[in-house]
Structures are given as C-alpha cells and as structure tokens.
Symmetry: C2
Subunit: 237 residues, 2 copies
Amino acid sequence: MEAEHIVRSYDEELRDLNDMIARMGGLTESQIARAIEALVNRNPDLAETVVADDERVDDLNYEIDEKATVLIALRQPMGLDLRNIVSALKIAADLERIADYASNIARRSLALSEVAPVRPVHAIPRMSRQVQQMIKEVLDAYVERNVDKAMAVWASDREVDDMYTSLFRELLTYMMEDPRSITPCTHLLFIAKHIERIGDHVTNIAEIIHYLVEGTRMRRTRPRGSTADHEVGSDAK
Amino acid sequence: MEAEHIVRSYDEELRDLNDMIARMGGLTESQIARAIEALVNRNPDLAETVVADDERVDDLNYEIDEKATVLIALRQPMGLDLRNIVSALKIAADLERIADYASNIARRSLALSEVAPVRPVHAIPRMSRQVQQMIKEVLDAYVERNVDKAMAVWASDREVDDMYTSLFRELLTYMMEDPRSITPCTHLLFIAKHIERIGDHVTNIAEIIHYLVEGTRMRRTRPRGSTADHEVGSDAK
C-alpha cells in the first residue's frame, strides 16, 4: 500500500510538472499573439501589458525549476523519470526565452507606434502565426510524448527561415528607397529576427522531446547557413 | 573508509564538472575573440574555423548534460550538491547560446568580407573585449563561488548596453547618409546586438551563481527598457 501510494503520488507530481509546462507554453504563445496584435494595431497599451506579463512567465519558469529540483531531491529518479524532469527544466528555459522575444517585440512595437506607419509588412503576422502554430504542435507532441509529431514541427522551421530571408530582402529595399524608413525598418528587421529565433527555440524543444522519448541526442542534420543565407543575413543556430 | 571513499570520489566528480564548465567557458570566450578577429581583419578562413568549431562547444554542452544527469541518478544529491549540478546544467546552456552568437558573428563577417569595408566601427571590438572580460570574471566567480564578484560582473553589463545604444545610433546615421552602406551596416547592427545578448547571458550566469551560493533566486532590479532605449531599439531581457 505504502509503495503504491508513493508511486501514484510521484505520477501526480510528474503530471503537475507537465501541466505547468503546458500552462507556461499557453501563456508564452498568448504573449506572442498579443505582441503581434499590439504591433499590427499600433496599440501601445496592449504592448505595455505584454511587457508587464513577462514577469508571469519568469515566475512560472522559476516554479518549474523549483518543482523539478525538489522532485530530483525527494524522488531520486533514474532513467526515463529523470529524463522527464530534466526535459521539463530545459523546455521551461526555452519557453522563457521565447517569451523574452515576445516582450522585446512588444517593446519595439511601442517605438513603432510613435512614428509614421511604414508600408505594411504582411509577412510579419504570417511568420508569427507559423511560429505560434509550431509552439502549439510542439506542446502537443510533448504532452503525447510523440517524437514523429515533434520531428514534423522541427522540419517546418525551414518555412520560418525562408519567410525571414525574403522579409529581410524586402525591408532592405524599403530602406534603400527611402532613408526616412531606416529607423522603423530596423525595428521590423529585429522583430522578424526575434520571430525567426522563436522558431529556433521551438526546434530546440522538438530536440528535447526526441531525447526524452528516445533517450538519445538528436544530431542536427538540417542544412543551414548556406552562402546564400549569409548574403541576406540569416543566422544559423 | 568506504564512506570516505565515496565522498572523495563524489567531490572529484563535482570537480570534473567544474573543470568541464571552465573548459567550455574558455572555448566560448576564444570563439568570440576569433569571430571578432575574423571580422576586423576580414579573414574568411578564420571565420569558417569559428563556425566549424561551434560543434566542439555543442559537444561539451552535451557531455556536461550527460555527466550531470548521471551524477543525479547515481549520487541522489540534495541541497547544495544538487544546486551544484543543476547550476552546471544551466551555465552550460548559457555558454552554448553565447557560442552560438560567436558563430553567428563569424557567419556575418563572411558576408561582410565580400563587400567593400564600411567605415571602421571601433565600438564593436571594444564591446567584444568588454563581454570577453565579463565571461572571464564570471567564470572566476563560479570557480571561487564568489557572489560579490558575480554581482560586480552583473552590474557591469550596463556598460555593454550603453555601448550598444550609442553604436546603434552611429550605424543608423551611416545608413541614412549612404544607402549603399545599408546592407553591411545591417550586418554590423546584428553583430552589435549579438554582443549585447552575450552580455545578457553573462548576467544570467551571474544570477545562477547567486542561486548556487545563496540558495535563493535573485530578483532583477537593474532598470531596463526605458523609453529612451525604445527609441534606439534596445531590447530588455
């Protein structure tokens, strides 16, 4: 009886940890959505809310760290149990970085709302929808412990990189045509870069799921950083 | 005798982990130094070496993860011992990101070596020297478990942020004066941003040292992201 009680309680604790990751993921995804909304609708109040709410993501990250550390100390896990806990720690760290980028996008939208609007850049909300979808799917893959789903998300980051590359070219053209657009376009350039980096963090999470389920490290094989990419300023991970 | 043997061996293993972090830190710092040298001396061969050597940093990060996970599983640490191991995991993750930025700087220096040199921007090597010094000092603080030293490094990141802000303004001016400089200046803008982000990761490491030694989370109190910063495109952490 005693042993069974401990086992069930441990499962419950792991489930709590999973739930905390899912909650942090949902909050992070909403931070991105609201940051982009603040940008598109030139809504500084919403942007300020996003910046303020980053603290909530940081707090959840801290709670997950604490919970995981206590679980390791009390439960002395091994094998899959240990991978479960270490993976939660790592995924939380990636989500925290993603939320940082959302907060930075909100800050830049504040700066942009103070100047005349630049030519609408539809690619930014489109890129953002793509990474939001990737976050949703990678969190599903995490909850289901589904490596195939995680790998599909991982592969789809290529589309984000391609969108970034073409947006980069487009923004450079605007800047060359009209020097007054240089400052706002620079903000948009960084915003696009932030979204591209969010995509990279989602691929990190997909790799963590691979490690969690398979117990082995995934070697990155996707081609990155070709000479063509250098010319337009794309970064490799 | 047996217990003493186990204790000594555990200390040795923790020392191994510390040594691996120190080695990873040294390699990361050298990656930054060489990336900036490749940029300043327009040396594509060196830049390619930096990009290729990023794999070595990734491998060390993986070895540290493995070592830490095995130590948790076999030693079932608690309290300070557990904080030691979790901190090593977290510091390795920050060093891995820092090395990624060094690799990205090297990639951008490749693109820059293919175009006419832009006006020399002395601030970039200066910023880089500052973050390299911060990395050295934060690793010293880690080895010595010295919170005061870690906090001094943490506070000095303000200087990197200030250098970034003035460099950002300078680059915008060049771009407005001469549209042909827009593409290379955009690369320099991202390089400056990468260095600024490296400084942020160093402050993360300083915060981890605080947690490691004191056992409590450090609340960030340094003012960031004022309206003035928005205007020149600085990001908050």
